[in-house]
Assembly symmetry: C2
Homo-oligomer: 297 residues x 2
């Protein structure tokens, strides 16, 4: 049976978009703060993280229907991180996903607050809506723990702090770059996959293999972004520019394009290897890993 | 029996400080991000919010020992809000609690991330440490829900957004000021009291009265701050300055000092009235309400 990954992703994106519109209704944004929130949430980007959350749930129990609040909360956290990352004091980006970045429209103060609100509201959403979905309190707490650990000072935020320091010129080891990518990008991808799987009833062994899968596709995803910045028709304004606009070290700037491509393939193959114990064909997580490694934007 | 409120607050502050040092150990801050976090957490300020959390627990069950993770998480959220509030794009304050504000020491980017991390890590702390304290998952989820609602886009962050718009010159109704204070300050004070009481086993009727108590002391607290900015030996750099340093509307600037003092007394008396059903003497929440209304700094 052939699997149309593009079609799969489009349909899941539609589901995520619909849920986000339900949880954060655009027409109800009355204050400037809420308009700023809604501006960055809709229409949003690829919705990769929530789709991974849905796909992991489908892999475990065949359905994603109870995990949508977690998936959307993760997208809210991703969106907050982008709003703050674009601020003048951080990466200073004027354009995001083809439109003006949040602070260019609403000002730095409101953009900062919109990010703060999205991060905070994500935890309200998980708590309240997962209870409504009939999830057990124990499981919801585990999901909150996983997501907050992945997003906090030992996860994504630490990765962002490392990233700020990767100015070109400084000597940097490739391990330091990989570790930054693990923190900055892979941790939240891991939280997406694990929370979906966990809410769908995955056992500890399954979670352990999915953790390993996620770390590998997370780092591969970030290296692939670096490659597309150099070679492709990528929206190249986001990833490679440092504070004050100077260039930053990336995996590609240190290892070169060929070695970087080889690394993406290697990580992707290792990630797929972690899925061997799951007897589901087609396996959406396998197909997404391949699609991510081959994408051209 | 006489109650030494100052001594009570000092002892509770010591307990909170000790717990915060345990949860966020200063000597383990290896990265710049963690140094920035630790810089704003220790020694901190009055610790009013966590003390209220402890006091509410004591009122309900005579002990505060299981609520410390919630109390400290609330202080972390308060600290994040201060770091972001001091940023140049927001209130642009160079001094906080007698020392340089976070971004003056660590730069805007790291300060922004330190705030983000404190907010996120607060939810990790509540989840993990309250479970260790033997609290039920249902109760922990209720606490997370209360705190995230109070801190998010319908609570503190909305209050901050309103606050940014309170530039002098614009016509403003006193109701709008009161509503801003309710959001910006009282919501998190309410979350502090309610989470302490809830974890100590308070019933719905008790929670409802404590909610009303908290709203009143929260608004009174902010008006008292305004009064001290004008009359007192207050660290006046924080509250009355708008973006770009221009003056902002406050309750006092609209109503005058005398009417503001009368409002603080009225709200404090109403708050104390809400405590009548609690048969504990001395009642620490009553004494704190009085102390807050009479403080001179």
């Amino acid at each position: 049976m052939s699997f149309d990954t593009k079609d799969y992703l489009d349909r899941r994106k539609e589901i995520v978009d619909r849920s986000l519109r339900e949880y954060l209704p655009p027409h109800k944004a009355e204050t400037k703060l809420h308009q700023s929130i809604v501006y960055s949430i809709h229409p949003g980007g690829k919705r990769l993280r929530p789709i991974l959350c849905l796909a992991a749930a489908e892999l475990i129990c065949g359905s994603h229907k109870n995990v949508l609040p977690a998936a959307c909360a993760i997208e809210m956290i991703h969106t907050y991180s982008i709003i703050h990352d674009d601020l003048p004091s951080m990466d200073d980006d004027d354009i995001r996903r083809g439109k003006s970045s949040n602070h260019r429209v609403f000002g730095e103060a409101v953009a900062t607050l919109a990010g703060d609100a999205l991060l905070t509201d994500a935890f309200s959403l998980i708590t309240e809506k997962l209870l409504e979905e009939g999830m057990s309190s124990e499981l919801i707490l585990r999901v909150i723990s996983i997501i907050s650990e992945a997003a906090g000072s030992r996860g994504m935020v630490l990765g962002q702090a490392f990233d700020l320091e990767m100015d070109e010129g400084e000597h940097l080891l490739v391990n330091e770059i990989s570790n930054t990518y693990l923190m900055k990008t892979a941790k939240m991808i891991e939280a997406s996959v694990l929370s979906g799987a966990m809410l769908a009833g995955a056992g500890e062994g399954e979670l352990s293999r999915l953790k390993s899968y996620s770390e590998k596709i997370g780092v591969a995803f970030q290296i692939k972004d670096d490659i597309l910045d150099v070679t492709g028709n990528h929206d190249a304004t986001q990833e490679s520019k440092g504070k004050n606009g100077e260039k930053k070290h990336t995996y590609v700037s240190i290892m070169g394009v060929q070695a970087s491509k080889a690394k993406v393939s290697e990580l992707t193959n290792q990630a797929i290897g972690e899925l061997e114990g799951f007897h589901k064909t087609p396996n959406p997580l396998r197909e997404i890993a391949i699609w991510l490694s081959e994408r051209e934007e």
